[in-house]
Structure formats: structure tokens, C-alpha cells
Symmetry: D2
Subunit: 340 residues, 4 copies
């Protein structure tokens, strides 16, 4: 923490700040300047709240220095974290997670699972419980949907990512899922995060609609702090004024995450754009930006989809995208993960 | 829904859209124009997803017309909803909810409860379970905190607002709380909303950090659609680029809510600004903008507060604010609620 | 500037930073900490660019401490600045600037000028040159409009605020205007600001659609730095994701400006909301938040207005608003300015 | 325009709307619905202002249908526009514009020009007049800078992009520049746009910090509407809450522009990210997203740069990036432009 005093602070005000720091068991360092005086604080084991000092008379600003997350930080762990999912490792060669937005029926899910597998996808996605803005929208098949995912997994051998959104169904979901997805709207559902931190299962943590990078890593810290180290971050677009797409995909967060944290990061261009024609360009851009993988929605009959049909790639689009991703990975000296 | 065709659409493309509408059991109205053709749709009982039509070739844009919420809408219910809390009604005369950010101890809570009551506050606030960005921050006293709130309620006779953030502790919280608060980060925690919709208790629903007015009313709709009609909306600032305050208080939402919905709306200037010196100006502005009340944090020893001390009003500030609010209400022909 | 080193920086990296600071003629202060080392810099006369240090190996972050503005700062000048306009002073008793969005004809302008004066408005507003998003929209009457404003000024005796948006017509506009308005979209048109800084006329500087408080004050600094000290700030809403109003009125900026700067601040609720029914609530809120005045659009025949008729107050609404503002000012111990 | 009536509108209110439409010389189409009635309007030659109808009693909402731009629209001109610059065409094979942020001296500019040319860059960038947030920052060498750009152009044969920000120096800048750059802060400086629309020179129009796609295309329309058809769009990041980079690069706008408009679009990852280490990932992502080119800053001695040294690529980074871009273009079946 660095505390900047007002240019016209009194010696008493400075002393009060210094005494407060000492009273906290920390060490103040007074730094005289031309225009103002600053007080550096050392000795704290974690971050301090700047507003504890803002309230003192004579203080102009208190600036935090220590990052609020620790276990999620690259400073804490230098090597990349690899999260094992089935026979793959998220954080290694480029991975493609694909499947329908929602599990609608056994036939629909198996059909799409087969075709994404045939096209080279590594992991199957599909929602049994769906978070919907409206109470009147299709909310997913629930436990019936979990059964279907289990069947799809058995037939195709693909690991499965599916969303958990209710503490009451967490156990049921975690019996089927290889990766438990936390949706953007639940990124700061701390009760759910605590429940997940006690499991020893990979969690795919989507970035909240208006979450800063620090807040996102703090939510990861909730998982890590209780011992669940298998966290995969997923950028899916943020909420801004920009209205030409469903959300604003913030791809620069990919190199930023890789600098600040050791956790793997993937991108979901389907929810980010909301429109089929922009999914493939953004999937390609994600690979070129250095993401460890993508998660995309695919549907063979999007006009009948119960959820987000407009953003689902058609089977032939998905096949073409897989070929592009392979080329881009190769162009940058990487490769797609090999299916077993 | 209004569907705008591309200027160069083919007759076959138009026909496909018209057929799709008919297949949905709805009625298409073709409107020829100078530059383009539009198709109006009628007969739907609820909102349609524009993206169901965007996917058709020849379609330029599909524009939703029906609002996605119904029970929360002023169109559905014209008269203002009044939510009874103790002997007060939220939505009637101006109400002041005040108290500490967090319940820290019985002594602290009773001390502050007494002083806000003496200054004229109507309802007591205080968090037993605190949602914190960091797992290392003070998380609240939990069930011990609920006991303390119960004691404060008994001594002062004030109804109590406190936050619920875990489905697993909902029952315990609802035994003590007169109003169950849903925090901004849980506005779209649909599992929690469903649990709350089954209770018959007032819910104070804070606006999410990046929630549009429609999304906020849709979350209210989750509560209303299962029969819990006692919903109080609370604006607490949104997340924007603006960095001079903790959040950007969006006061214009107050008249907007009053136009679109029959539900009462209050404002939380403490979380919106995050800084003591700006709380009172924004509380006054909230009253002048037509809010039905405010919720503010008060602490008599903010430098010792375990949570958000920097934004807590001092007792004398709070007293002065109560006087200002009374004056402003009178200036606009209203009044503060009378304590029993 | 405070430079935070990575936890694993080498002594050579720290030395390189220290040497860089010395080479700039400044003084480094090394502050050892538990987790990391920081280097405080003193001796600079103005702000430093943090990115000059970010580029050094071993540096985790460089944090600016000095505010980038100086002359606009409350630190530099403690007393409130009062900007004389006609017989009024902006920054003193509450002022109301009112009139049509655009000057449409002599008849329209005189009619509205008379009625806002009769209702108690102090200063007349009206655009002769209009900045329009579309080249096909009405662009204002231009120099003919200036003539009309001159006539309105002569007849009513009210000082006039009008917008300047072209360096080529600055001279003509400044011959008529008592206050030169810089629109939100020109807040960082530095060429125009430089031209205005050489005049000795009041400038009403609207906040840019996505300007931070610091950037806004830096634009004021452009004016002040060349000797034009007559700057009035005007909040008019910012651009956010929030879609229930034309812009998001950021009223918290009012107390923030009053803390950071000595310049007066007014609010334009007409452009902020874009909808008539929300103008009066936000005008009242502006007064309650402590603004030094408001600027509102009034039209007696809004359905015929060539520009922004939907946000214009009707004459009777405006009269009622004037009465409310008087009441609110009185409630808070202030008053409206007295017309001469 | 589609006008939605309130569910409880009166027949008189509907009639008033219908009459208003007729009075405007347009054709109303009443569309009865289950919950409400809508009125479609046809016959207008350009967009209508929805707020002209919002003001009518009984109207719930007026929804614009016609896009506000015409000449910039893909509907108006189907074929891609190619903007000739020197021997290149922007909009054809991928182009790289590179050079220093600011022209600092003849030696610096020639040195960097030579090295970017040797690495394969096509067009030289460099600012003679610099728009700076602070009046105290380096403002560019001005006309001396133009001389230096002229020399660099003569020696290397590269066409030159440089910014114009003052109507008073437009003529001088346009004598040297092959492409006139309009900065983000001037995207809605309509006076400058009008001046540029009368020239017959390519204009590189950067997206404003908070401009929607429609607004950006409207600014292009200002240029096109007066006959200057040589417009190149440049995405450079927008202003959001996201704080891990200088701006939020909105790459999804690339496919969006290509759908809506025939104008070419390039990306500036240097200003978008503000940090060297993220420029190359975002440049690669831009190519993969389908941009027609990029504009990047390169400096061989960034620690001495007078402007934005922290975001300048080092010569070796730039060389590596050129190789990556060639590979990515090839991977997607495209190619980099050939130097003459």
C-alpha cells in the first residue's frame, strides 16, 4: 500500500497515518516528495483495503500494491498448470470442446456428439441445466439431460463439460461431468464456488459479464484456496456499450491471463458473438491470440434448437473451422491435441 | 417481432420466413416498403427470440417488440405495489434503511441499531453472511450474526434486512430476516431466485453490476412467476469505465422503473459511491429523483469496521442526512414514513 | 510514481530501475517489503508515464501518484472559481440555462426565450451550429442562427450559451455567445481547445461520452494552461451498456468534481436522459446532489422541433420544475440566482 | 419505423399516430396484435427519429428499422471497396502499416522506416501532430515532422499515413500524407470530417473510444456523402470497465464491418493494448479474424521514445511478427501484399 498525503497535510495528520500503520503491526516508510509526501507500507501478508486509509484526514489517495490473489498468480507458481480431462490436458496442445448448447433429446445429443467427434473435437459440451434470463424460457432437461450426457460419453468416449448452477443438484451433475462449468452469471456465486472448491474435479470458470481480470482470478482463488487446483478459465465476452454483437469478446485477456496466472485459458466464441457468421472468425482469432482451446456450439438443425440456435455452427462450418484451427496452430508452431 | 428483409432478398426467401411464422402458429403481416420489406408477427403470447429469424437467408434483422417480462410490468398491473415490512410499506412514504455493513459483534450492532433508530431510520440493515470478492476477506459472523440481528430487532423493534447468499442457509436467514436481500452478484443466480420465489417474504433485489433494466425486471419476474409478489428493487450502481467512484450510480433508472413497472424502487448510495463524502449527496439526489427510499451504511467507529468502513456514514452525518431528506421530501410534496 | 518489482527480480534489474530514475534527474527511494520491493520516485515536477518503467525487466507494475492536471486542481487553487456570465456568476447561487435545442427560426427562438425568461431561467441556450451523428440530419441555421440569438439576447437581456464546433466559425460564434459551449464529442478536439484557450470568454466544457474525470479535467487544463480561466464543467451522461436512457447520467461526478477541482459544475439532464419524462426528476436530483446549475431544453411545440423534440420540456413542465428547484435549493439552505 | 402502442391505448391515440405519419407524407400500416397494436411506416427515404413518435400519448415504443447510413452500407454497394495507397490496395491482400508513434527526429524516423521496410512493412506510419490528453505532453514536431516524413517517403518509397487533427494544418498535412488519419478522439469532429470529405485522398478513420458500429459508419458516411469514397476503417480498441489493457480491442467488429459495409477494415493493436507483450498476439488475432491489415508501432530505442514507447514493438519482435502474419495468411488461403 502506498498512501499519498494532500499537498497541504499537517504534520499531525501524517503522524496519525504513521501510527495507524504501526498499530496494524506493519511498517511505515515516509517518502518526502517535491509536491507531496507518500507513506509506503510493508510487512503485510496479504492485500490491504485502500479505503482504510482514505478515511484519514490529510490523505489524498491510498494505492494498493499487492495483488489480491495469490495461489492463482504466476508469481506464486511459475509453471503452466495443466488440467487433465480424460486423456487430454487443458493447457497443453490446443483443445476443441464442441456440442449443442442444450441437451434436448437423446437422439439430438448423440447425433451431434458423433458428428463433432468425427470432425476432430476432443471434449463434448451440452447443458442439462440451463441458466436463462427469463423464467419462461426452456430451462434444460435436468436430470434426464444428465442421463443423456452419460450415454453420449459412453458411446463416443469423449469427456463431458456441463454446467452446474444449483447447489442442490451439484452432486448429481458432478457424477456425470468430467468438467463442471460455472457460468458467467455465477462467477461470483461464492456459495457455489465454495462447494466446488471441496470437490477434486476440473472446473471451467467462465468470466463474469463485467468482471475485471483481478476479480476473475479472485474467483479462481476461491477454488484454489480450498485445494481444488484444477481450474480452467474461459473468456466468453463482456458487457459493454458495443451493440453489434451479443457481447464484446475481450481477446486481449488471453495474453494477460498468461502473464498474470499459471492457469489455462480457453475462449467461447459462440456466446461472445451470439451470431453464427462471427463464431468461426473469432475462433480462429482465439487460436492466433494464444488461447489453449475453444468451446463452440454446434447443431445440425439449428432452426429447431431450443436454445441459442442462431449461434450454433452447422456441421460443415465446424469441419471447416477444425481444418483452419489445425492450420493456424501449425503456422504458429503448435498443434491440436491428438484424439486417443 | 418485426422482421426486416435485405433490400435484395428473393421472393423465395420472403416466403420461407412467412412459412416459418405460420408453422409457429403465428400470423405474419407483410409490409412492403420503399427500400425493403418487413414482416410483422402477431399472435404470440410471450416474447420471441429474434435470432430464430436472423438465421434465415434474406433476413437483415429481427426486432423484438414484446417486452420479455409480464408480471413485473406496469402494463400488467397499473397500481403501485406496496410491500409491507413491519408496520411500514415500501412504495409509500419515503423509507430509510440503515445500519452497519456487517454484523461484527452484539455490542457493535446494538450500538448502531440504537443510534440509527434514534435518528429516525425505519429499518435496520446488517450482513451476517457477506459476499466477498476475496476468500481471504471477512465473510461475516454467519449464524452467530443472525442471533445478533434477532436481538437487535427485539430491542429496537425495527424490522431487519439481511442478505442471503447460500441456498444452504436460506432457511436460517429467513427465520430472522423481515426482508431477504439478494446481492448484485446474485441477481442472476436463478437457483437462489427460485428458492426465494417459493417463500412468502419480501425480497430486496439489488441490480446486477451490468444488468439492463429488462434483465433486472426479468429476475424480479422469476420471483413473481412463482407467486412471491413482495419484491423491492434496489439500484446500487453499475460497472462502467468511470473510475472516480466505486460504481456508477444510475439514478435515471428510478423514473424508468416507475414507468415500466409497478414495483417499488430504493437506492443504495453507500455501495454505489464507496466513499463517505459522496454518500449524502447521492442519498439526497435519490430522494429528489423519486426513489421510494434509501439504504445506507452507518458506523460509529468506521476505522475499526471489518468491512467497507470507508463508505459508512458517521452518526452525526446520518442525523444531518435524515434532516435533509425530510426537507427534500417536503419540498416535493412527500414525507418520510412515520415511525410507529 | 511507485515501481513494484516482481517477487523474483534480480539485484541487477533493481539497479537498472534505480539508475533509470537517477538518469532522469529524479530521486529513487527503495522500499523493501516482505513479498516484493518497491521504488518510490520523487523530484518530478509533473506526472510520469508509468509505461516508461513497465518496459524494464523485473518490473511488475508502475503506479502513477501525481495527478496529471495541475491548474484545474483543488490542490492548486482552494477557493471555488466563479465564472461571470452577464450579471450572474456560475459557481454561486443555482443557475438555470434553458432554451430550445436548436435555433429553428426567429419566431421560435424569441417565443421560447420569452417563456423561459418569464419562468425564471437565467441564461438562454440554443444551437446555431449543431453536431449531428448523421450528415443527413438538420445541421443548424449557421450564421443566420447566430443573428437570431443576438436578437433574442437583445430583447430578453439574457446572456447566451451556444455551441462552437468548427475552428472556421469560432470567431463568428464568439461575437454573439456569452458562453462558448464545447460539445461532448469535441471534449478532446485539442485544436479547438487551443483556439478557445486564447480567448478570454467563458467556456462550457461538456464531458465526453467516455471521458474519465481525470481526462475531463485535463481538457479543462488545456484551456487553463493558456490563460483562459473561465471554465464551466457540464455533466451530460456517459456511454455505458445501460439502455433504458439515451446516456447514463453520472451524478456522483458532481461531488467528485467539487472535491478534486475548484471549477463550477452544472448538469444537462436533457441530453443525459433523452426522454422528456425523465428530465425533471434528474434536474431535481442534480440540484440535490450539489450541482451549481442545470441546462435544459424547452420547446413549446416539440412535435415540430427539428432536433431532439422528444427530450424538450413543455413550458408548463418547465415552470413546475423551476418551482421544484427553488424548493430543493431552499431545503438545502441554498437559493436560485436572482434575475436582475 | 415500427410504432408499438400501449396495451391500453385509446382509438383516438392510435388515430393521432396514423395522422402524424400521413402528415409526414408517409404510409402507415396498422398491425393488430394479441396484446398490442403496432403501426409500421413505409415510404421514408432515410431513417426517422423514433423519438418523434415516442412523444405521442399511447405510444409504448418506436423502433427504427432503416439503417442510418446508406453509402457506407453493403446494401448500397455489394462489392468490396479497394482503397489505392501507393502501389497497394487496402482491402486486397493483407497490408502492414508500421513505424514510430511520433516523428521525433530525421535520424529516428529514417532509421525506423528503413528497418520496417526491410522487415517487409508496406506503408510507413508516424505522427507529426500528436493528440495528447495532457497539454504538457510532447505534441509532435509539427511542420518539421512533415518535412521528415517527406524525406522518409522519398528515401524508402513507402507511402505515408499521418494524423491530421487541426483544420488549420489540414492543407500542409495533406501535401505530404498519402493517407490522412483521423484519430479516435476526432471520429465525431464533424467540421474536420467535412473538410476531409472535400479532398480526394484516402482517409483512415479510427473508431471512437465509445462509438457503436452504426456511429462509426455514420462518420464514414460524412466522408462518402461529399464524394470522398476512399475510406479505410481502423479498429483500435474501445473504452470499457476492463482494466487489464489500455483499451478493449473489439475484434468481433471485423466480421461485423465486413457484413454491414463494403469499406476495408484494419486493426491497430498497439493503441488497443498499450503494452508491447500483447501487441503481437493481437496482431496475429487480427489477421485470423479477417482484417485487411494492421497498423503497429515499432521503435528501436523505445526507452528513449517521446511517446508511447511502452507499446512499441522492438525491431526483432516486428520481424518475427511479419513471419507469423505471413504464415497465418497462408494458413487461411490469403497472402501478404507484395512490396513493389
Amino acid at each position: 500500500m502506498l498512501i499519498i498525503m494532500h499537498s497541504d497535510h499537517t504534520p499531525e495528520q501524517l503522524e496519525a497515518v504513521v501510527n495507524k500503520v504501526k498499530a496494524m503491526g506493519l511498517k511505515p516508510h515516509v517518502i518526502p516528495g517535491a509536491q507531496s509526501v507518500a507513506v509506503g507500507i510493508t510487512g503485510n501478508s496479504g492485500p490491504l483495503d485502500p479505503r482504510e486509509f482514505d478515511v484519514f484526514a490529510g490523505v489524498s489517495e491510498a494505492i494498493p500494491v499487492t495483488k489480491p490473489y495469490k495461489l492463482a498468480s504466476r508469481d506464486f507458481k511459475h509453471a503452466d498448470t495443466l488440467v487433465p480431462v480424460g486423456s487430454y490436458e487443458v493447457g497443453g496442445p490446443f483443445l476443441v470442446i464442441a456440442g449443442p448448447c442444450a441437451v434436448e433429446s437423446e437422439d439430438q445429443t448423440l447425433r451431434i456428439a458423433r458428428l463433432v467427434k468425427a470432425a476432430g473435437a476432443h471434449i463434448l459440451r451440452g447443458g442439462a441445466f440451463k441458466p436463462r434470463t427469463s423464467p419462461y424460457s426452456f430451462q434444460g432437461l435436468g436430470s434426464k439431460g444428465l442421463e443423456i450426457l452419460k450415454a453420449a460419453k459412453q458411446e463416443t468416449g469423449m469427456p463431458v463439460v456441463t454446467e452446474v448452477l444449483d447447489q442442490r443438484t451439484l452432486e448429481a451433475v458432478s457424477e456425470v461431468a468430467d468438467v463442471l462449468q460455472v457460468g458467467a452469471r455465477n462467477m461470483q456465486n461464492f456459495a457455489l464456488l465454495r462447494d466446488l472448491s471441496r470437490l477434486r474435479k476440473p472446473v471451467l470458470l467462465k468470466r463474469g459479464l463485467s468482471a475485471t481480470l483481478d476479480e476473475w482470478l479472485m474467483s479462481a482463488e476461491y477454488l484454489l484456496s480450498e485445494g481444488n487446483a484444477q481450474v480452467i478459465l474461459c473468456e466468453r465476452g463482456v458487457r459493454t456499450f458495443s451493440d453489434h454483437a451479443r457481447n464484446t469478446l475481450d481477446l486481449t485477456v488471453v495474453p494477460a491471463v498468461k502473464e498474470k496466472s499459471h492457469l489455462p485459458i480457453i475462449v467461447d466464441p459462440s456466446h461472445a458473438t451470439g451470431v453464427r457468421s462471427r463464431v468461426a472468425p473469432m475462433a480462429r482469432a482465439s487460436a492466433a491470440a494464444g488461447a489453449h482451446g475453444i468451446m463452440v456450439e454446434v447443431h445440425d438443425r439449428p432452426e429447431q434448437a431450443l436454445c441459442d440456435g442462431a449461434q450454433a455452427l452447422l456441421p460443415e462450418d465446424f469441419k471447416a473451422l477444425m481444418a483452419d484451427l489445425e492450420q493456424i496452430a501449425a503456422a504458429l508452431g503448435h498443434s491440436l491435441a491428438k484424439a486417443p
